[in-house]
């Protein structure tokens, strides 16, 4: 430690600049869309419970599957699927944007604002497409 202090001047000379995290303020758009990404992530974690319950039902006897299928196709669960679908589409679109942000691109205020609208649009489009395929076109309503 003493030795470190002695060479203080030497080591401090070429220090990198801090990223100024303490004064960096996220824009309203990136803040709101980022927290929504967290919330949809937690919702999807709850969806994992449904997925594993269904998988275990598939692996069990025919009678057990019928009972689980009955529970899983109730109106209450259809509401849950709609929520999960929207959460999934949002988390997918926003997650990809987070990956782009990680590369250091699109962080300017105007860009973040634009991409937020892109994420919202992508969510709506994806949810409509998947929703149509999963709920309406195939005979999955039963």
């Amino acid at each position: 430690m003493r030795r470190l202090q002695r060479s203080h001047k030497n080591t401090m000379r070429a220090r990198p600049l801090s990223p100024h995290l303490s004064i960096y303020r996220m824009s309203r758009y990136s803040l709101l869309s980022s927290i929504t990404n967290r919330i949809t992530g937690v919702i999807l974690s709850i969806g994992l419970l449904v997925l594993v319950y269904w998988l275990m039902a598939v692996a069990s006897s025919n009678r057990d599957y019928l009972r689980a299928h009955e529970i899983l196709s109730s109106g209450f669960f259809k509401l849950i699927y709609a929520g999960l679908l929207i959460a999934f589409c949002y988390h997918l679109a926003a997650g990809i944007r987070h990956l782009v942000w990680d590369t250091g691109h699109g962080l300017e205020r105007a860009q973040a604002q634009r991409s937020t609208w892109f994420v919202v649009t992508a969510t709506v489009v994806l949810a409509l497409v998947f929703g149509y395929c999963l709920f309406l076109s195939a005979g999955h309503a039963s």
Binding site: P16, L55, V58, A59, S137
Partner: protein, 129 residues
């Protein structure tokens, strides 16, 4: 960009004292893997003619389906565990409660991963009828 490493760090060469960017990195890695896996799952499920037991078992018993489902369950539970952990660390301020919540969530995720993989393999190896 200049190296973020101090001259002392360069000489000693020990790297981070703790896990460094491991959590951040694995979170990204799993998220990239989940993009094709989840889309495959949604499309594959949507293209099934019905969701009765016989159809679902025939679908799940296919090698590629079983393989991708196992990957999906493992990567999704890992990704979920990493994400939920950060949420708890950020919002639960009471240390005791936070630790208990994290332990419970870790156990839950381990349980979900093992149960999911077990169920898929059981069907894939013809154990369900």
């Amino acid at each position: 960009m200049k190296s973020l490493r101090s001259p002392l760090g360069t000489v000693v060469g020990l790297g981070s004292a703790k896990s460094g960017v491991h959590h951040w990195w694995v979170q990204r890695l799993t998220s990239i893997a989940l993009v094709p896996l989840t889309i495959w799952f949604a499309v594959s499920l949507a293209s099934l003619p019905a969701l009765d037991h016989v159809t679902v078992i025939a679908w799940m018993a296919q090698s590629w389906t079983a393989l991708l489902l196992v990957l999906l369950v493992l990567v999704a539970t890992y990704h979920s565990q990493l994400g939920v952990r950060v949420v708890v660390e950020d919002y639960v301020h009471n240390t005791g409660l936070r630790t208990v919540t994290l332990v419970a969530l870790t156990f839950l995720h381990a349980f979900l991963a093992v149960a999911g993989v077990f169920a898929i393999l059981k069907v894939a190896f013809g154990g369900a009828s």
